[in-house]
Each structure stands twice: as C-alpha cells, then as structure tokens.
C-alpha cells in the first residue's frame, strides 16, 4: 500500500511538470514565431520544408521602420500611427481616470437620489458593444467635423473607458475603510479635501491598475479607429497593422515586425505591472 501511494505521488508530480511544460510551449510558441519571423531572412520564411531556427538573423526590418525617410510610405505611416496611438491612449487615460474616479467615489461613498438607477445605467453602457452605436456616432461626428481627428477618437474611446473606470474604482473605494474619511471630516476637512487628501492617496494602487488597463484598452482598439480614421494624421497603430497585412501581402517579415512593435508596449506594461493588472481585472472589470 505505501509503495502504491508513493508511485501515485510520483506519477502526479511527473504529470504536473509535463502539463506545465505543454502550457509553457502553447503560451509562448505562437508569439515566439512572430518574433522569429520578424528577424528571419525572407527566403527562409518561404522555404519548404520550413526551417524553425533561422540560419542568420537580421534586424534590418526594425532599423528600416525607425530610420527610413518619409519616402518610404509604410515606415513613415507606421511611425506616425505609433505616435497617434500613444497620444490618444494617454489623453483617454487622463480624461477617463478623472471623470470616472470622482464618479466612482460618489457612487461608493455618498448618498443621493437615483443612485442605484444611475449605477445600472453605467453598467449597461459598459456592456454596450461599439457596433450598437457606431452608425449613429458616425453621423454625429460627421456633423461635428470630428471624423479623422485625434480629438474625435479620444472622445469615442472615453465613452467606453469611463464606465470601465467607474466600475473598477467603485470597488476600490468601497474597500477603503470609512472611518478614515469620517476622521478627516471631523478634523474640519471639506468634502473635496477629504477626497483629494485621504481617499485618493489610499486608492492609488487602484488608480495605477485602472490607468494601465485603460491604456491597454485604447492601445488595442481597432473598430472605431478603422471606421473613423483614414489619414496619417489620425490613424492608430492597429489600423496601420491591418493595412500592413493588406498592402505587404507577401512581405510576412515586415508584417511580423510591425506586429512585434505594436505588441511590445502592452506586453512590457503587463509583465511589469502584473500584480496591479490582476487586481484590477479581478476587481470587476474585464478587457475585451
């Protein structure tokens, strides 16, 4: 009997490591293939049978995206698009963090009429898929001359990131003990001061988590960007990637390079701020 038990234990241990190894390969292999494709010579990518490890590597594609002059349309568009994405994502983070956090505070801490009904409306707007409103938005932005502008895109993104911030920050605010705020109020702090001096510093981890998630949401957004932007001045990185795939129909190495560059910022942010991101995700919001 003890031998049987020990055998079973060894078996589960071995099984655990085999399973872990399969998960590791399954998680990393497709992404590694993207990186390998971006540094392989074109000829080896199209070889049959396929060589998995390139005989030599080349960073020429990365160099050309960042150094080539404006004559190289693809590289120029890609650089501009990356800049546009950063600008939009940062503006969206600022707008939705401010408007969403103060609203979350009042939902979490204050008593007022229709509170629960308004919270329900926010939850519903968070659930609404972009496709449900995009046609009306198209006619509205058209009348306001906001199509193909970074401002228009920033406003659109704020519409889905703000309810997201409200939803997550409400949870964080509720987890901060109420006594601290009461004590500050008794000491003569105004409501606004209690919010800025007591609550916000305590909610900082939540703000960081939410801010990063909002940045990731804006960075990877594609549907609005596809429909509302067309010029180099406004298109974002995801649109540039999709055009890359279309235009460079045969240059897989270049498509892979663009893909790696678009992926690095979110992957680095995610790995670096993993603990914050996980706490944000499990606090009630889920990125699409």
């Amino acid at each position: 009997m003890p031998i049987l038990r020990r055998n079973r234990k060894i078996f589960t241990e071995v099984f655990k490591y085999i399973f872990a190894f399969i998960i590791l390969i399954g998680t990393l292999a497709p992404f590694l293939w993207l990186i390998i494709s971006s540094i392989s010579p074109e000829k080896e990518l199209l070889a049959k049978p396929l060589q998995w490890i390139p005989s030599r590597h080349t960073f020429q594609r990365y160099v050309s995206i960042f150094t080539e002059s404006e004559n190289n349309k693809a590289a120029y568009v890609f650089r501009q698009a990356m800049g546009n994405s950063i600008k939009v994502a940062l503006s969206v983070v600022v707008i939705s963090l401010i408007s969403g956090t103060i609203a979350a505070y009042s939902f979490a801490r204050l008593k007022f009429r229709f509170k629960n009904k308004i919270i329900m409306v926010f939850l519903f707007t968070y659930m609404i898929p972009p496709v449900a409103i995009i046609i009306a938005l198209f006619t509205i932005l058209n009348e306001l001359n906001l199509i193909d502008t970074l401002l228009g895109l920033t406003i659109l993104y704020s519409s889905f990131t703000t309810p997201f911030v409200v939803w997550i920050m409400k949870g964080y605010m509720q987890s901060i003990p109420g006594d601290l705020e009461d004590a500050a109020r008794i000491d003569g702090c105004s409501r606004l001061k209690a919010l800025t001096r007591v609550i916000l510093p305590l909610a900082l981890p939540g703000l960081i988590a939410t801010g990063i998630l909002v940045f990731l949401l804006s960075w990877e957004e594609f549907f609005y960007a596809l429909i509302f932007t067309s010029s180099v001045q406004a298109k974002t990185i995801s649109v540039a990637i999709s055009e890359f795939s279309g235009r460079h129909a045969v240059d897989y190495g270049m498509i892979a390079t663009g893909g790696v560059l678009a992926t690095l910022p979110p992957v680095i942010l995610t790995l670096f701020f993993q603990r914050y991101i996980i706490s944000g995700l499990t606090a009630g919001g889920v990125k699409g």
């Binding site: 241990e13 655990k16 872990a20 998960i23 590791l24 497709p30 992404f31 293939w33 993207l34 990518l45 199209l46 049959k48 049978p49 396929l50 939705s96 401010i98 408007s99 969403g100 609203a103 505070y105 009042s106 204050l110 009429r113 329900m120 926010f122 939850l123 659930m127 609404i128 898929p129 972009p130 496709v131 449900a132 409103i133 046609i135 009306a136 006619t139 519409s159 703000t162 309810p163 409200v166 409501r191 990877e220 594609f222 549907f223 429909i227 990637i241 999709s242 890359f244 795939s245 897989y252 893909g259 992926t263 995610t270 790995l271 993993q274 996980i278 995700l281 499990t282 889920v286 990125k287």
Partner: protein, 294 residues
C-alpha cells in the same frame, strides 16, 4: 461664510462629467440608432429617406442572413467559451499547485492576453497560411498530414480556426479570474475532506467547483457579451469569408452599414444587438445579486 455643499449636491457635481460622457456618446447614439432604424437611409441614394416604420425589422427578422449570423455568433460563443473554461480551469488548478518555476509560468501565462487583437489575428493568419504557414509545416514534419491544407479556405473550418486564435488570446483571462477565485477557497475545507478520504475528483466536484461558482458565472456572462464585440480578429483573418462562413453578427452589421452603405439596415441590426445586450445585462445583475459583494 459660504455654506458647505450638501452631500447630495456634491455627489451630483462629481458624477456630472462621467454622466455627460456616457449620455452624449452612448445613450444618445442608442436612441438615434433606434430613430434611424425606422427610416430607409441608403447612402447610395442619399436624397430620399422614407419612413418605413418597422419595415427594416421585418425584412431582417424574416430573412436568413441575420439568423445565420446569429447562429454563428452563438456557435462561436459556446465553443470558444467552453474551450476557454476547460483550459482555463485546468491551467488555474495547475498554477494553484506547488512546483518549481510556478512563478515564471504564472507571469508568462498572461502574454497572449496582452497582445493586441489585431496583431493576434495577423499572427494566426500567418500561422495558418496555406503555402508557408507554420501549422502546415509542423503537421507535415511530424507526419500528421501529407500535404499543406488551406485552414481558412472552407467556411466551417475557418470559423473553428478563428475560434482557436480567440481561445489562445482569451484563455489567460479565464486563468487569472479562476486562479483568484481558487485562492479565496479556505484550506480547511480540503483538509476536512482529505480526512474523510475524498479523492481528487470528488474534492474537485464537491468543493472546488461549487466554491468557484460565482467567479465562473461572472466570467461566463462577461465573455458571452464580449462575443458581440468580436470583430477585429475576423476582419484581419477572414473578412467574414469564405462564403460568409465567419460572418458573426457584428461583422454583418459593419458590412451592411459601411460596405453596402445601408445605414438604416445597419442601425436596425445595431438596435437588435442593444436589446440582446440589455437582456444579458439584466441576467448579469441578477446573477451578481446572489453574490454578497460588488
């Protein structure tokens, strides 16, 4: 001296910016979409926009295209979410065990989720490429297939291959949520079960799964609603083809409105989607109501 603000007024001031944003960019457009769905707005014929009442709804609900797209959307949701749950729960259970390198696997597991959807789609299209793709190369080299296949070439197979790409990206999310849920299960529950001689499977079905129920419910509903957002991956991998085989409801709406310029038909589809989401939201709130917090 200025009178201090009442609690209620302070609250209203604080929610104003967020309320303005969602009313002008979400709720007003929903109403405008509803309004547009009662007319016949066709951008290929911009000078006439007759009122047609419920005509668009009748046309869409009586035709096969809408229902085909709906059936595909439901298929996509059922298959991708079940696979994400089977994989996600197994991986989370593994990551909840002790083994060397667990911290490494726990941090790396999140990578697919962080890859932008459009890059994910372009990556898998490259892997599934019929002439040079890595999948064909791998399967021929290990002898599973004799000749290169066109993975995105036939309607039903293409739909399933798109699901594979989606599952690869979204499983990490399920792992993270389930893992967080697993960590809230008190250890004593397992210890007392261990004393009673319950085996692994029994412990899983009698303790782990029931304790995970709230987490599973939340993830299930959120993932279901997100199926109505699936667009990027289809746009980049298959453009809804071949033979509309991967045309889910969102892609169908996009195509009506922005390729065929049938704005009011698109608006009608969009409003039908809003109604579906409203129904799902109500279920979501009811389900959350059974949980004490949130």
């Amino acid at each position: 001296m200025r009178r201090p603000l009442s609690e209620e007024n302070f609250a209203f001031i604080l929610i104003t910016p967020a309320v303005i944003i969602i009313f002008s960019i979400v709720l007003y457009p929903i109403l405008k979409t509803l309004y547009m769905s009662f007319f016949n707005i066709d951008l290929t014929n911009p000078f006439s926009r007759p009122f047609v009442g419920l005509g668009n709804y009748l046309e869409i609900l009586c035709g096969p295209t809408f229902w085909n797209a709906m059936v595909r959307t439901v298929y996509f949701a059922v298959v991708s979410i079940s696979m994400e749950f089977i994989l996600g729960i197994s991986i989370a259970l593994l990551l909840n065990e002790d083994f060397y390198g667990r911290w490494l696997l726990r941090s790396l597991i999140i990578i697919p989720w962080a890859i932008p959807t459009i890059v994910n789609g372009s990556l898998w299209r490259w892997i599934f490429n019929p002439q040079y793709g890595a999948l064909n190369a791998l399967l021929t080299q290990i002898g599973l297939i004799d000749s290169y296949q066109s993975w995105l070439g036939s309607p039903f197979l293409a739909l399933n291959m798109v699901i594979v790409a989606d599952v690869w990206k979204m499983t990490p999310l399920v792992v993270i949520m389930i893992l967080a849920g697993l960590q809230t299960i008190p250890h004593e529950l397992y210890e007392s079960a261990g004393v009673d001689g319950a085996n692994v499977l029994k412990r899983f079905f009698h303790i782990t799964l029931p304790m995970l129920k709230p987490t599973i419910l939340i993830v299930l509903i959120l993932r279901t609603m997100e199926t109505f957002k699936v667009f990027d991956i289809i746009y980049i991998m298959t453009s809804g083809g071949p033979a509309n085989g991967t045309q889910l409801i969102t892609y169908y709406t996009y195509r009506e409105a922005f390729s065929y310029l049938q704005l009011s038909k698109g608006a009608t589809l969009a409003f039908l989607i809003s109604l579906t989401i409203l129904g799902l939201s109500i279920i979501y709130v009811k389900a959350l109501g059974t949980k004490t917090e949130y």
